[in-house]
Symmetry: C2
Subunit: 298 residues, 2 copies
């Protein structure tokens, strides 16, 4: 019952996200692709070529079925059946001065008694603006602190570790929060986590609306656009090599176009690209590291 209730709430929030983003973008519209497979159903909402948003995917899914060996080894659990629901979203802006953002909330339940929430939200600016970074982290911290003041610091560190490219020795962006396997202890605790994940998912399009309003209409140069495409290459590397959701989707015969809608529209790879020392690009690159306390960054 908890899963279908969560699914209904998440599905409704998916619509809120799309409508809010459409209004903020002005011209871009989401197309809706409903899909049904044996494993369950979903709705993939995609915007391409809006006035500020170049490509955005907002995926909802509600799946259930046999708990197979792959899942057992991945999750370290034994069970017969599972059910899961979630929203997963990424927004890529055409303007290099507006960051890429990602948000995911999910609820997973097994018939062995285990159930948990997971999710996160993280920001990938091509040009790190420390005031923007501070606001982003403060907004998330404020939401988390209402529920438990231990959440933000724990989940912020978790995001630093998760959104990391070991082969580049750099973080994907300025991070945010990441959490997984948060098991509710009782019905009240379930409601708390459902509220927390819902609040994060609803804050997501508002955070992005602000980022679009602040920088979406600023002019940018060819060189800035090229830097954006190179940084997007790192995003592709992360998603295809490391991202657990992408891996899980590819291995479990998921809806391939929904899974890979997270990839940016235009990407470049340049051999041994190094920004000019002291340039804004170099300053951004120097800040792609773990452990920065963005809420207090000066």
């Amino acid at each position: 019952m908890n899963v279908s209730k969560t699914a209904a709430i998440y599905k409704s929030i998916q619509q809120t996200i799309c409508r809010t983003l459409e209004e903020a973008d002005g011209t871009g519209k989401f197309t809706e692709d409903a899909w049904e497979k044996e494993i369950g159903s979903g709705l993939t909402c995609v915007m391409q070529n809006g006035s500020i948003i170049e490509k955005a995917g907002v995926n909802f899914s509600y799946v259930r079925g046999n708990f197979n060996e792959n899942m057992a080894s991945l999750l370290g659990e034994n069970a017969t059946n599972f059910a899961a629901t979630g929203i997963s979203s990424i927004i890529h802006s055409g303007n290099p001065l507006v960051p890429t953002i990602h948000m995911n909330v999910r609820y997973f339940k097994l018939d062995n008694g285990s159930s948990w929430f997971g999710g996160g939200i993280d920001l990938t600016p091509m040009y790190i603006n420390t005031e923007e970074a501070r606001q982003f982290h403060q907004t998330i911290k404020t939401i988390c602190d209402q529920y438990d003041i231990s959440y933000y610091p724990e989940w912020k560190a978790w995001a630093d570790d998760y959104f990391y490219l070991p082969h580049r020795q750099e973080t994907r962006g300025i991070g945010g929060i990441f959490f997984d396997r948060i098991q509710p202890s009782d019905a009240r605790d379930f409601e708390k986590m459902l509220n927390l994940t819902s609040e994060l998912a609803k804050a997501y399009p508002l955070i992005y609306t602000r980022l679009m309003k602040d920088n979406g209409h600023l002019p940018f140069s060819e060189a800035q656009k090229k830097w954006q495409k190179i940084r997007r290459g790192r995003y592709v590397e992360f998603n295809l090599i490391h991202d657990r959701g992408t891996k899980f989707g590819l291995e479990s015969d998921g809806n391939i176009e929904s899974i890979l809608v997270s990839l940016p529209a235009e990407v470049e790879w340049v051999y041994q690209h190094q920004p000019q020392p002291g340039s804004p690009e170099a300053q951004t690159q120097e800040l792609l590291k773990k452990g920065i306390d963005w809420c207090r960054f000066e």
Copy 2:
């Protein structure tokens, strides 16, 4: 001794490949980055922004060291030390009418008595020209047949299976050959495989020179260029998700810029892109499947 001899020959062929490609391109030049790490050394040759070649990498390496647990489980062998040498190369053309090509030859030796050759060469046209595909496969078959007539059919099927994207249910291109763990039975057999791999590596730039001469100066449209970038997205998916050499390199703390020089310069992902039925793009997509006998294709 066999490894250092093979390394010397491969290293010399690397130079031949670069000089041949420079001459055929006309304006593009290879830069050379020599690298040395505890594990060994290598030379990464890269051409960017030639007149036809947009990006090409020709990597040589000669490494040796402790045979660690990762390698043991990957290779299913027990040994204390290993040595390996090889050439690995990819060429991306700016003109969508000229295919992407890949070639790799390698020799691996363990101190437990095991040693083997591996490698392959495969072609990825954005627009499949069946006569060009026939010539490509026939050229490789002719080389292989001089050594053993069982090689081409076996290795062609191996390439079909290896250069395959299960999540797209399509081959990377028109394939070619792929072989691994070909263990020489004696000194004469070693020479045979050294000659075969050398001959393949030397044929590689000549094959590409012909492809450049045939189509490199043909005009192309914006739509054809866009299709090329979308197809390159599949190439990136293969290399980052499936390619064993890339995986091995990323996991073994290899030279990251040398490993990822294989990625194309400009790439696009479009949600649910489908070519027009009956178009040249759709015809190409229909031919991205295993088991086509390209030497006899009509």
